[in-house]
């Protein structure tokens, strides 16, 4: 057991916070659940569950199309989330926030709608070596279709992007730079403001994949000057199937619709359709209304705690967890960036991550094992897979002790 000092920022009462998460109060295989897989999906507080239930029990109706009371209530609640998302990202206007299914759809929307109109044969798209598959494959598909080139910003062995190499990749043919704000597999926090600035200096646009950043830090799209920024609801303590794409209105206005259908039109005849204004142009069909309302409750919840407090507490967890794991012989942390979110990806010499995951699970500890949808990252570090413990503000130092003890048990079994 580790006996490190526990510096908890004043005012951060994790035990009270845990009361808000019903799922955490259970035993798994006879042991208290230790949930360390928040980077895959975060748990949902009562407030989110209640908002979704309230919608289904009290307000349920389709939105944007009824004059009746329920439809108006549903519309108001759903649109309220757009206003909350505007504040959450510090966008200029509500019209710059598009509801999507999640980060993956946000990226696909841009790659498809912006990409088809703006990428020509010989053009270049720049991504980085530490991207999730969702910020690789849509661009690869676009490049294949448009005969464009995909260029990759390399990283060092800490898992930090090499900006001097990035500089060399930028050129007159660069159209888009798409990078993650925080790496899901390594935890690296990328210097996205600088990355965006360099892209702009080269005349390119920049998209930031914020899936792993939104739950952990304050985001200001105006300060970043990002052209597009996208995140998923379920990683920020909201439901699955809903997310947000931010885009500068000038760009969104110039882009063709992503999908056609109801709600995205002004007028339809068999000869010609005119499209709705922003943001509805990109929102064809009945959306995930309950999800949108749940996401609003999640953003409120996170704001109530405060992202500055969350970031400070999680950093303490990261420092504590890093030291606790470093005491385990044969364990190597993959991803040791100086700027890092609360993610501990690691391997143990001679023991496969799946075996580690199974033994930990039997002790009630939930971690992710595998390639984390980032196979190029695994290839770069010459590992087939890692075990990843990812934290949120509801985790405790005692849980990290439990992880360390669990890993000792793993070592006993496989040594």
């Amino acid at each position: 057991m580790s006996t490190l000092s526990r510096v908890v920022p004043t005012g951060f009462d994790v035990e009270t916070i845990r009361e808000d998460f019903p799922v955490l109060k259970q035993s798994i295989h006879g042991k208290p659940l230790v949930y360390l897989d928040s980077a895959a999906t975060a748990q949902k507080p009562h407030a989110v569950v209640d908002a979704i239930r309230r919608f289904h029990e009290v307000d349920c109706a389709n939105i944007h199309r009824g004059v009746h009371e329920l439809s108006q209530r549903s519309t108001a609640a759903y649109e309220e989330t757009r206003a909350k998302a505007k504040k959450f990202l510090n966008a200029r206007t509500k019209n710059e926030l598009i509801f999507v299914r999640g980060t993956t759809e946000g990226i696909n929307l841009v790659a498809s709608s912006w990409g088809r109109g703006n990428v020509k044969p010989g053009d270049e798209i720049v991504i980085s070596a530490l991207e999730h598959h969702s910020n690789i494959v849509p661009w690869q598909m676009l490049c294949e279709e448009r005969e464009a080139k995909l260029r990759i910003i390399p990283m060092n062995d800490r898992g930090e992007l090499l900006l001097e190499e990035y500089e060399k990749l930028l050129g007159p043919r660069t159209r888009m730079v798409a990078v993650s704000h925080v790496s899901n597999a390594l935890g690296t926090i990328n210097p996205v403001a600088r990355i965006v600035e360099m892209a702009h200096n080269a005349g390119a646009l920049a998209l930031i994949d914020g899936a792993q950043a939104a739950p952990h830090m304050k985001i200001d799209v105006q300060a970043l000057d990002a052209d597009f920024y996208t995140f998923s609801g379920h990683k920020v303590f909201g439901p699955t199937g809903i997310g947000i794409l931010y885009g500068k209105s000038k760009l969104l206005n110039a882009m063709p619709p992503y999908q056609g259908g109801g709600d995205m039109i002004k007028t339809v005849t068999f000869e010609k359709t005119t499209y709705a204004d922003l943001p509805y142009k990109f929102e064809a069909g009945t959306p995930n209304i309950a999800g949108g309302i749940g996401l609003g409750a999640a953003l409120d919840y996170v704001n109530r705690i405060g992202l500055d407090k969350i970031a400070a507490y999680e950093h303490e967890l990261l420092v504590y967890g890093t030291e606790a794991l470093s005491e385990i012989p044969g364990l190597r942390i993959i991803g040791t960036a100086r700027e890092k979110a609360a993610v501990l990806s690691f391997i143990i010499e001679g023991i496969h991550p799946h075996d580690i995951g199974t033994v930990l699970d039997r002790q009630g500890i939930a971690v992710r094992t595998g390639h984390h949808c980032a196979q190029p990252v695994m290839d770069w570090f010459h590992v087939p897979a890692t075990t990843r413990a990812s934290m949120a503000f509801y985790n405790t130092f005692a849980e990290l002790d439990a992880l360390a003890a669990g890993l000792q048990k793993v070592k006993e079994i496989f040594s």
């Binding site: 496969h352 199974t358 039997r362 087939p384 079994i413």
Partner: protein, 145 residues
């Protein structure tokens, strides 16, 4: 308990896999891949007069998949193609159904604990899927997905 899964014989075969080497004169080869966990396996078989004369494998995987490949190679030698495929079926039943454990499986019964770990069934069957593809002469690498 987790010890039901990681029985001594499984741990032994995962640490010291038997028949773990390439085979120059193999008559059939196949590759298996589990995209969920990245486990990869190459299987080499020498079949003469419809009899499996020799089997070997190389690859990287978890304790369950390595031990399963190792024990599979041991249990196949001397079997006809049909007998090998029948064994595969029995092994698959052992992992995925509540069927009673039969003595025909021999040492392979140590994998019965996998039943309680649905997420690990694919680890235990990777080598066997690959075997099927080798015996059926499928050219494409076999995937557990």
């Amino acid at each position: 308990m987790v010890d039901d899964l990681y029985q001594e014989i499984i741990l032994d075969h995962s640490k010291h896999p038997r028949n773990c080497h390439p085979m120059e004169d193999a008559t059939r080869k196949a590759e298996g891949y589990n995209p969920l966990c990245g486990d990869k396996l190459k299987l080499f078989i020498k079949v003469e007069d419809d009899i499996v004369k020799d089997v070997s494998f190389v690859g990287s995987g978890c304790a369950i998949s390595t031990a399963s490949a190792s024990l599979m190679t041991e249990s196949l030698k001397g079997k006809t193609r049909d007998e090998a495929l029948k064994l595969l079926e029995k092994f698959h039943d052992l992992l995925t159904t509540d069927s009673p454990v039969t003595h025909e499986l021999g040492k392979l019964v140590v994998f019965c604990g996998v039943r309680d770990y649905p997420a690990r069934v694919k680890c235990a069957t990777l080598a066997w899927h690959t075997l099927k593809s080798a015996l059926n002469g499928t050219a494409e690498p076999v995937s557990t997905e």
